[in-house]
Subunit: 199 residues, 2 copies
Amino acid sequence: MLKGAMAETVQLGSITETTDPRILRSRQMLMESLFRLLTRKEFDDISIQEIADEATLNRATFYLHYPDKNALLQAMTATRFRDLIARRGLSFTDCDGALRAIALGVCDYLAETTGCPGQLAKMPLEGSIIAAVEDIFLQGAAHHAIVPGTDPKLLATTAAWAIFGAARRWYQTPDRIPAEEMAAKIEAMVKPIFLTASM
Amino acid sequence: MLKGAMAETVQLGSITETTDPRILRSRQMLMESLFRLLTRKEFDDISIQEIADEATLNRATFYLHYPDKNALLQAMTATRFRDLIARRGLSFTDCDGALRAIALGVCDYLAETTGCPGQLAKMPLEGSIIAAVEDIFLQGAAHHAIVPGTDPKLLATTAAWAIFGAARRWYQTPDRIPAEEMAAKIEAMVKPIFLTASM
DNA sequence: CAAATAAATCGACAAATGTCGTTTAAGCAT
DNA sequence: ATGCTTAAACGACATTTGTCGATTTATTTG
């Protein structure tokens, strides 16, 4: 898979900020197209041609922005999840109960976006959601006194994976408890990770 | 993607045990083929035809057992990781330091199996390794006094994701600390999850 | 405004994917 | 040993994928 120039910018890793309205517009339309199609069909049954058609873009244009379907799903998920968090004004700067609020955000996102719980297994959302949660933690870490021997990145990663894993299990459970209740449980489990001393 | 009969048994979820030597043989050969090919090429660059050829099986036979390449990778990873753990005789029944040993197992598995750290990002190993770790925890839970309000499954899932996430970060880090050292860190972070009271 | 830059379109291509119906042969039960 | 069951092989098919080169069109810069 030779990855091509891909419109100058890269999706994962360090992003060369783009202002070009054409690029922004194309990517946005692709993400919205996929989202719309997902309400009707399963991810696996959606072809890149369909996504391009729905976005009124040429198929080749798709490949100019994303290497494959998964990358688009990834990008879409990251964007939508970040928006959800942003709408709720979570930044971990207002540190109180932020952990619970983030957990709740993940639960809600899974519940409102993913159609069928069984389908979740196939979708590679992990990367995007986990990365977003990780980022929030890291932002928060900047506002805290840094415990000497501790690696904030490792803590953020570990906590993010723990939260996502727990939320995922919750969502896949047949008869779920309320999201709020689950968020409280997650908070209780994950909080101690951050209190890890002597590392 | 109509999933077809798939040789009577299913990969994920409840597995209808098979004794038929033909089935066992085919699956084993496919897993070994993929492993061998992975030492030479990247996962993305391996076609199903190649896997089938390497296994001296027909391509159609592949689809009799796995819906796609990812499912095979998943199965292969689960099998190999379980073997690694089994070779080390880890069962969490010998509870002391088992958590650290499992963390070490995950680190070692990633390091010895995955070729390039950057490639890891694309591979959906999560499901398989995490599921295996989860199982080990659940086995262990059976040997412990069950704390009333606690859900062992949730704890197992959360801890498993935390461990995998941490190990994954470690493996992707350019200049890694020794695996043993990392395992100790992971143990320190994850242990408190199991001590969560009042859930 | 005009020229340079770069994104989007178009058509085409070889390759890979996923699925079928049919045939061959291995495993299993009586 | 005989026959039933079912896995594996085979060949074929329509579709999707990923990539190209060439062209058109939109944006930015000077």
